[in-house]
Symmetry: C2
Subunit: 112 residues, 2 copies
């Protein structure tokens, strides 16, 4: 087995944000969700590039939303997670967990 089914670090983060947002995920809200949860600030370009890659790989799908009646409220490109995405997230998590298993780092609260 090569890498294949696993996700890169940022792919994981973006796809998790998509999953968390359900129907409310689109470029801007996805970026906000990541910043809110992790405190990490991400560029909007990075988010879209990653979303495209996830879509190419069949882990996410996008569909056009409708324009909202607000200044600048153009149609949004919404994203949802596909089954393959959910599988990849779990595979990635399991793989990392296997590497952590039994390790306790000095100063760490909860050894796995």
């Amino acid at each position: 087995m090569g890498k294949g089914s696993f996700l890169g670090e940022f792919e994981q983060v973006v796809l998790l944000a998509v999953a968390q947002l359900g129907d409310d995920g689109y470029g801007v809200s996805i970026r906000q969700e990541i910043e809110r949860r992790t405190g990490r600030d991400v560029s909007i370009g990075a988010v879209y590039a990653t979303l495209s890659r996830l879509e190419e790989k069949g882990m996410a799908a996008s569909y056009e939303g409708e324009a909202v009646a607000r200044r600048g409220g153009r149609a949004r490109r919404h994203f949802r997670m596909e089954p393959a995405g959910a599988r990849a997230l779990q595979a990635t998590r399991g793989m990392i967990d296997a590497m952590w298993s039994g390790l306790d780092l000095p100063g760490s609260a909860d050894p796995v």
Copy 2:
């Protein structure tokens, strides 16, 4: 805050193997540990390249071991994890956990 303190997917895996192996980590054993724990087969070149990058960033350090009396038993280059590496591992894990928090994927056993 940008990415800065977080680790890439494979960097994480390699550094965790280094941590797990303690004094017994060197190129070949690190590769084996990863394969054993994850079932994923990794090329030796990928392992060394990643170890070098981790060392450059101060997350791991290497030192020369002694040659062992066995055919081909040349001196090994051992690796150990540095404090910055431990911090990066925990930061990365915490960040991913924050993204998972509250999510339960269909067919998943244990929602976080």
